[in-house]
Symmetry: C2
Subunit: 197 residues, 2 copies
């Protein structure tokens, strides 16, 4: 069974987006530098949205090659405009929502999961096979931590303080982790942990 992981970029003070994130400002106020490490190198011939060089490159390659399914919140789906232009990972994307949208455009890989977190995770596990189930969003990460089903946390910490916005980790603990990998890179550090139960 594939591991359930959250793998997101955070500011040093723990935000995955600044304040007032939304359609107009996907990374919120001051949040643009969060993704600078993914676009700082020469254009990636495989995916023109990415340009990752140096020690960060294997991180992105691993993210793409290991993912068996993505589980996303509805808000992330909306802000990402349904990945209508494509998602960097070629895997089914389960969007947890109370009700599927009745109009609009989205990636053909999107499937709406309307029966709650547990059912969505079960569907994602089935689709993923031995691949990783990647949780995309702070709410989902927190739900998985609370439910005791999160296996790993990877944070790419960027040199930025946001002060407010969307916190990745909030109000859950004490939980002991095991530090399993540290990859220092240019303008970012990739920290990986196993969640111990």
């Amino acid at each position: 069974m594939g591991a359930v992981i959250v793998d997101l970029t955070v500011s040093l003070d723990g935000f995955i987006a600044g304040a007032d994130d939304g359609l107009e400002s996907p990374l919120g106020r001051g949040g643009e530098p969060l993704f600078a490490w993914m676009t700082s190198g020469p254009r990636d011939p495989d995916d023109p949205r990415l340009s990752v060089v140096g020690p960060s490159r294997p991180i992105v390659d691993e993210w793409r090659s290991r993912a068996g399914a993505i589980l996303s919140g509805r808000r992330t789906f909306d802000i990402a405009r349904g990945w209508a232009g494509g998602h960097p990972i070629d895997a089914p994307i389960f969007v947890l929502t109370h009700a599927a949208p009745t109009s609009g455009e989205w990636s053909p890989r999107v499937r709406f999961a309307t029966d709650g977190f547990d059912a969505a995770l079960a569907d994602a596990r089935e689709a993923a096979g031995d691949g990783v189930i990647s949780l995309c969003g702070a709410d989902l990460a927190q739900q998985a931590l609370r439910a005791g089903v999160l296996d790993e946390i990877q944070v790419s910490v960027v040199p930025l303080l946001l002060g407010s916005g969307v916190r990745l980790l909030d109000g859950i603990g004490p939980i002991t982790l095991e530090q399993t990998r540290v990859i220092p890179s240019d303008g970012v550090t990739h920290l990986r942990y196993r969640v111990l139960r």
Copy 2:
């Protein structure tokens, strides 16, 4: 003039102590593992309170050798019981407080600073000479960041989620940092940043 730095150990979710920290529980609920990296090796002959080995050792040596003065909050002074048993750093300790205590015991290196943050920092700078002024406490770090006088941030990130407690960085930003050093170690990662203004 010496740099003003904050150099503290934090959980992955950004807490320097768990909830309900105080005299009985200096590191708060669940916070004991925060300092495990400082006491995991064989006893240090120079200071029996420390036993740091591996890549973390130079971090502690640098902390001790570069410090010219410590600026602490009153709450930290109280919880540390005035460092009556000695402080690992042999430097003057300025304790910012509204009123100096009239009884009790504390380290002979302690001086009480009762004229506010700016005056306390000026006194600490004078005492430090070319040495580093080390801010000891989240409140002080935040005050220094807000005032634009913090030069560097070093966080030793330990594999732990606390969920609540005393946050090191809270409500201040956007501020751009420069990642200047990453030292992965055993059960801790030492991240160092310069504050850009």
